[in-house]
Symmetry: C2
Subunit: 242 residues, 2 copies
């Protein structure tokens, strides 16, 4: 019995790997957040949808598991990569007592990579991915990680910089980074990654602090070597002679 966990990439079906598309095709049931299922609706003809709301992830994974146990081929889908702020860990956990289920996680393009490509190449060398959502991680832990990332001179991809319920997280994050990094540090934001209307902006850490981002935005913070080159955000790899 087979249960797939599939990363769809950032947008529609063009952003998916061939491997992900083939696995989806083999499925009877597909479980996911409605918005993500709509992005791939052309691939879901004749398949049963298992939908629950954004905050009912455990129920969704259990429903997918039970459908798989009943003999269906099932996929749980996440946008981006299923292993990065996605559903893969939860699926493995809710299936822990069902070794008869074979779980195959199929990776996808995460927002750090897709948004980075839109901006240029901000994460070329060592980087950290940090979510500013304190729904599942205490805010003190997030602050500790921001401080550590700045101390290590990592490039940073900030997931979930704002939400309806949380105001000021991006500003607080910038203040923590500004204690270590200069205000002219090159930064970038990308909206609607991989979707219609994708757009990006280059900015600085000082200006980012007072920027109003929205829920569709991913934020990129440069390290000490990041620069703007021809309107793109670039962290050099370090080759001599360039």
């Amino acid at each position: 019995m087979k249960l797939y966990v599939i990363g769809l990439g950032p947008g529609g079906e063009e952003q998916m790997t061939l491997r992900a598309a083939r696995a989806l095709e083999a499925c009877d049931c597909v479980a996911g957040y409605g918005l993500y299922l709509d992005l791939i609706k052309n691939l879901l003809d004749g398949k049963t949808r298992i939908e629950t709301g954004m905050t009912r992830e455990i129920d969704r994974c259990i429903a997918a598991r039970d459908a798989a146990l009943s003999g269906k081929t099932v996929a749980v889908v996440s946008s981006g990569d299923a292993g990065v702020y996605g559903m893969a860990s939860l699926v493995i956990e809710v299936c822990a007592d069902f070794p008869e289920l074979e779980i195959e996680v199929i990776p996808g393009v995460t927002a750090a990579c897709a948004g980075g490509a839109a901006l240029g190449s901000p994460l070329t060398c060592d980087f950290a991915a940090i979510s500013l959502s304190d729904l599942l991680t205490p805010w003190e832990v997030i602050e500790k990680r921001l401080r550590a990332a700045a101390a290590g001179d990592f490039c940073i991809a900030l997931y979930n910089p704002v939400s309806k319920k949380r105001a000021g997280h991006l500003q607080k994050a910038c203040d923590i980074l500004l204690a270590v990094q200069p205000p002219e540090t090159v930064c970038g934001t990308v909206r609607n990654i991989g979707r219609e209307g994708e757009s990006f902006t280059l900015t600085t850490l000082g200006a980012l602090r007072d920027t109003k981002a929205d829920m569709l935005t991913t934020v990129f913070i440069g390290n000490s070597r990041t620069k703007a080159v021809g309107g793109r955000m670039v962290t050099p790899r370090g080759y001599k002679g360039v």
Copy 2:
């Protein structure tokens, strides 16, 4: 005039996005390291290859740029994601004085995501990607980042844990992490990510220190909450009631 920089994903063409495959199809010339070009040779029929050795990346990007300036449609390809330890930054840099060239970076599945999927879901929450290669980054900087990642309780994906010329880097890295993290920290290694013979092993940080990894291996270090579940490496997302 168009110059693509394309992330191929970890292995053969099945690991590529549809968008990457379509862009490749539109190209007259493809530049890349021979090993990666061989992995997608079915897609290169009738196209000119621009090949240089592993350490002649600047020459390769300049040759690709010049082919694009002569009117060809050209792709520079990287394995994984072109923006993560890949060619995207170098291409943008060598094209800085040629604004007539439109550079489109097409993201791919990086080894952190692809290797993570093989292991389960080790990077679910905040994570750091660190390369142990000191070819382009001084070793002291790498050590600083390892210390910072451990201080921030990040999950870690270690790229390039060993090479022909560098012995003992993985052991040194583990010693730095062991100063902060307990030896029973759950770790994993993946060999031949996304290619024939892909295999993974779960281990601990204490045991990893004395493991002989090879150049085909990517290493994953858990954070304080990472655990083994049903033979997979899982960092829980933090949902209550699981």
